[in-house]
Symmetry: C2
Subunit: 230 residues, 2 copies
Amino acid sequence: MTRDSNTALEIAPASPGDTKERLLDAAERRFAELGFQGTSMRAVTQLADTAVSAANYHFGSKEELLRAVIRRRVQPINEKRIKRLDEVEAAASTPDVEAVVDVFLRPLFEARAERLASAGGEFFRQIAARLYADPQQLVLSMRKELFSEVNERFLAALLRALPEAAPEAVGVGMQLMVGMMVHAISGQHGESEIDDLPGTDYEPRLARMIAFASAGIRAAAAVPEQGGAR
Amino acid sequence: MTRDSNTALEIAPASPGDTKERLLDAAERRFAELGFQGTSMRAVTQLADTAVSAANYHFGSKEELLRAVIRRRVQPINEKRIKRLDEVEAAASTPDVEAVVDVFLRPLFEARAERLASAGGEFFRQIAARLYADPQQLVLSMRKELFSEVNERFLAALLRALPEAAPEAVGVGMQLMVGMMVHAISGQHGESEIDDLPGTDYEPRLARMIAFASAGIRAAAAVPEQGGAR
DNA sequence: GTCTATATGTTGATAGAC
DNA sequence: GTCTATCAACATATAGAC
């Protein structure tokens, strides 16, 4: 495989100037498939049809390349979440749990459908799953940087939606919703047939996820403080 | 750091014959902290106070070492799950959703409490999270090998508990429960204060998780087939 | 069973030409 | 901005002594 052969393996035909974008696409794909540590800079730059030094010119290091890959996808999703949550909170001082959960989950599906439509990439969801499974400092700091504000806003909204519930219980419910979401979008679990996510026709699946998470949060909040199941 | 210095970094004082166990403990810890690809055999064998060749003597390769680490923890948990599910199904032909979910989740907490009590290790849960975030063939085949039977048994039990529901909906509910579980046990998400799991006094948290998952599964199953939220 | 020593390949990053 | 060439460090795995 030489760098000149423009085969299906490459992200897009190389045209001058967009090397940086091609590197982001290639890194997104390889980080998703092989993981951050499992991906060499060579694996990325070969897919992007360029040289290792070009990647280091644009991003400085492998770690910074990862940050750029993740930021590119997460930021628009979070902006959409915040904007819609503003609207929900403006409409009602005591929002519905379902409305808050909808606003939290829907932008993920919308972003994925957009990317599928533009042949962009099916890969980011896999990176997101890894992001939540890695306790290393690099990844931990990215999670904090990317999700602190959103998590605080949505937790506050859920607390307002469930004013009678113990705050700790709502926090647990929110955490469990995030887990449900991460696992569901990472897909391809291979243990059953319904694991994989629908692409553009996501509404039925999303409806089930909203129902699951909303009912789950309400139920977790309703467990009595000292109640054991034993 | 010489191999003779018996510092706190090592897993246990080296006594002859238990090199294999020390290697499993050390690998469990390092794979949890650094990931499989991020961990070198040297990092494992230094922690276990032995040589790389000893690890390859006992396990053959790094991949087989990973398999051994994971099997050691997962097998007892799954055996407990199956045994208790047998009992639940023997007691009632239409089991409770709550009873099935309890039997699925509780063995995880019991195993963790046992390990904490024996200072065994706080590390496996992190490996489990990585196990679910990795789409590579090695990991995929391990998931299939380890969880196929359990997943099939519990999905069948849930279908029996919800005879009116669409099977696809129950499958989605089961998948979302697994996601909730994986994320919750991996802990240390760092975005909020309630992320970390309680150790031995796990009953209150477990009760909330059972309530969340059971209500979630029921709600997901109750969403009408063509119903959208839009 | 466990060691030391080593073979062979790959890694991330940079120097310097154009 | 992008390349080729190169570096030192590190990887997995094995050979062979004890």
